[in-house]
């Protein structure tokens, strides 16, 4: 199985450990992983700001970098969703359609494609699970509290295989953290307030760590936790699944 590793730009630059954990996890489960070295960014920051048209160069580069693999795996629900829904260049090639169809967020790839049923990891901590909206409501990584439907959680099922993890309960199981891409600076007041409220829910329930499938939400909450000198830390789910 030839897998291309798609690492979001900000993870590449600021959270290399998340990318390393993702790579090691995929290798552990027998994937032949390549990291296309010319990758930059999926173009989401421009598109969500209303500048899809300025992201054409990014999209073309992405299509070139990721052509010809069985799967593309990314440790971010948000960037995965962007490629799945919005990767459209002027060429509109069959390769692009293949990319849109075979791009997976890490947890859904592990559950749906690799069908992982055993994880050799231990993480003896109280952990709060943050449901990032694009992964949850966009990719359906977990059931959404608004719907009248059976609950399920792909990241949750993976975490349940990790030894000694204690998942805490939250008052609001899937409220947005307020990151929202450029929203976090354009609407700073609401963004920060949403982040403070989200963090408070985890802290109130004694989380030692807040985890999730999107580092961008975690980066936002980490910024708030650090400002508050909180003992609670953030950790990407790949790092928990890859912990010994």
């Amino acid at each position: 199985m030839r897998v291309a590793l798609f690492i979001p730009c900000y993870v590449d630059q600021f959270y290399p450990n998340v990318a390393i954990a993702t790579l090691e996890l995929l290798e552990k489960y027998g994937c032949s992983v390549t990291y296309p070295l010319k990758q930059t960014c999926c173009g989401q920051p421009m598109a969500n700001s209303g500048y899809e048209h300025e992201g054409e160069g990014c999209s073309q580069l992405f299509a070139e970098n990721f052509a010809g693999y069985d799967y593309i795996v990314c440790p971010s629900g948000s960037c995965t969703l962007h490629i799945k829904h919005h990767l459209h260049t002027e060429k509109n090639s069959p390769e692009e359609a293949h990319i849109r169809k075979t791009v997976y967020e890490l947890c859904e790839f592990m559950v749906d494609v690799l069908k992982v049923d055993n994880i050799k990891a231990r993480f003896p901590h109280k952990v709060g699970m943050h449901q990032s909206c694009h992964g949850q409501r966009g990719l359906h990584l977990s059931q959404m509290s608004e719907l009248t439907a059976e609950p399920f959680s792909k990241p949750g099922s993976l975490l349940s295989m990790v030894k000694d993890v204690e998942l805490i309960k939250l008052d609001r199981i899937d409220e947005c953290c307020g990151f929202g891409g450029t929203f976090c600076v354009a609407e700073e007041a609401v963004s920060a307030k949403m982040g403070k409220d989200r963090v408070a829910d985890h802290v109130r329930h004694e989380a030692e760590y807040i985890t999730g499938a999107d580092m961008s939400c975690l980066m936002h909450m980490e910024g708030i936790l650090k400002r508050q000198n909180s003992k609670t830390k953030v950790i990407h789910i790949a790092e928990i699944l890859n912990s010994y």
Partner: protein, 457 residues
């Protein structure tokens, strides 16, 4: 008077100056979202109902003129006088002319977001007609000289103590009294006297049935009925998109409406108006006001399915923390942010950006409007129209260019990490909105790409 700021982000800064109040506002609306969840989760076929409602509305939008004509014909046969208004101004003139014909200068009005949209109260007042809003929440904001902040709960932004103060000032209740029962009783007495002395009543319309020529008004207070039954002239105003084909379709919508709005199984009153009482005149005013143009926009037409339940407002994490007035329109929240740019793109260009695109709004919508996808699409339309700030246009162009060049990206990324490491004061200052309430991420010694080159390739 309410804030005159017409930019969501600025109004939100104002709203967030009083953090305990934001917490109170958020919790009050979240409580309603929870009630909605309980009510909807108890209906096993809830998601099918939503789908059914969505399809009925899609059918309506595709055959709108046909259903409107059918309604007109049936309504006329029932004795209702039908009017057509192309825009807000014509609507206001029609209502005024009906009142003039009967020499009426005082009117009661139950809740109608359409009349808020058209600015009817202001128009009538400027023409010497006194309008008393009879929905309790509407009456409260009317006394406070504010617009409603929510389409179902117009005064949800006001605390009971503030309402007590208003009532003390205008209705003569005891100073400092804030007991909701006491205040409601005072309002009831005040409104009862008004109902008995007004000869004209205006109501909104929740649903108009093409098959029968009747219309349905849903309220919890019975104020629409009280007004309409006592008055010589009943005027009902509705947007053209509110028509439904058949009477049996009501069963779908009445089950969805109140559960989505407040978590009640049904509104206390769902009143059907079909034939005027003897000696009463019944009018219905159909209003376009941009709707037929809106209907022509493929990406945005299905927002006309909206039944004004406000579930999207209650669930919206941004609305709960910025308040309804920050959307500077009669219809606030996520649905307002996709409806209002249809009326005036320039004046409402900020609203599609007042969202994290979390998607909760689309999930609670009883008629399955793809609200968050439309917010995304509006952003593209607005920026392509050149309505973005010049600095943003330039920075996005630059960003798009750098990110399409791998070598430039590597250099810029390294530069950013070096800045964070050696000169953090460049970004960790008041000019950086991120830093105001959040720390910057700690820069690692190398990027993943650098690590990968050393360890794998």
């Amino acid at each position: 008077m309410h804030s005159t700021i017409t930019n969501h982000a600025d109004a939100a800064i104002d709203f967030n100056l009083d953090e305990p109040r934001v917490d109170w506002h958020d919790k009050t609306l979240w409580f309603i979202r929870e009630k909605r969840d309980m009510a909807s989760h108890n209906i096993p076929e809830w998601e099918e109902l939503r789908e059914y409602a969505s399809q009925i509305k899609n059918n309506v939008l595709s055959n709108l003129s046909q259903y409107l004509q059918e309604f007109e014909e049936k309504a006329k046969a029932n004795g209702i006088i039908v009017h057509w208004a192309a825009d807000a101004e014509e609507h206001n003139k029609i209502v005024h002319s009906i009142l003039q014909k009967h020499n009426i200068d005082r009117m009661v009005k139950s809740k109608s977001m359409l009349t808020e949209e058209c600015g009817l109260n202001e128009y009538l007042e400027a023409n010497g007609v006194e309008v008393i809003d009879t929905d309790l929440g509407e009456r409260i904001v009317q006394l406070a000289k504010e617009p409603p902040s929510h389409i179902v709960l117009p005064c949800i932004h006001k605390k009971k103590e503030e309402i007590g103060e208003l009532f003390h000032q205008y209705l003569g209740t005891e100073k400092g009294a804030s007991d909701p029962k006491y205040l409601t009783a005072a309002a009831r007495e005040h409104l009862r006297e008004t109902f008995l002395t007004r000869r004209a009543a205006l109501t909104g319309v929740n649903f108009a049935i093409a098959e029968t020529g009747e219309f349905v008004v849903s309220t919890n207070e019975g104020n629409a009925d009280m007004g309409a039954h006592l008055a010589d002239v009943h005027i009902a105003c509705m947007g053209i998109e509110k028509v439904l084909p058949k009477q049996h379709h009501l069963g779908v919508f009445l089950r969805l409406l109140a559960r989505s709005a407040t978590g009640q199984p049904i509104t206390t009153y769902s009143s059907h108006f079909k034939v005027p009482q003897p000696h009463q005149e019944m009018h219905i005013v159909f209003v376009d006001n941009g709707r037929s143009v809106h209907l022509g926009k493929d990406d945005f037409r299905n927002s006309l399915k909206c039944i004004r339940c406000a579930a999207c407002m209650n669930t919206c994490p941004v609305y709960r923390r910025s308040g309804g007035h920050s959307y500077h329109n009669a219809v606030a929240g996520p649905i307002g942010s996709i409806l209002t740019p249809n009326f005036d793109m320039r004046a409402n260009k900020d609203l599609p950006f007042a969202s994290t695109l979390c998607g909760s709004c689309s999930n609670v919508c009883p008629v399955k409007i793809d609200i968050h996808d439309q917010l995304y699409k509006w952003r593209q339309v607005l920026m392509k129209e050149g309505l973005g700030p010049t600095t943003k246009n330039a920075s996005m162009k630059m960003m798009g260019w750098v990110l399409s060049k791998p070598a430039l990206y590597d250099i810029s990324g390294k530069a950013a990490r070096l800045v964070l490491k050696y000169t953090p004061f460049v970004v960790s200052n008041k000019l950086n909105p991120w830093y105001k309430q959040r720390e910057m991420p700690a820069p690692p010694k190398e990027s993943f790409k650098e690590w990968y080159k050393k360890n794998r390739s």
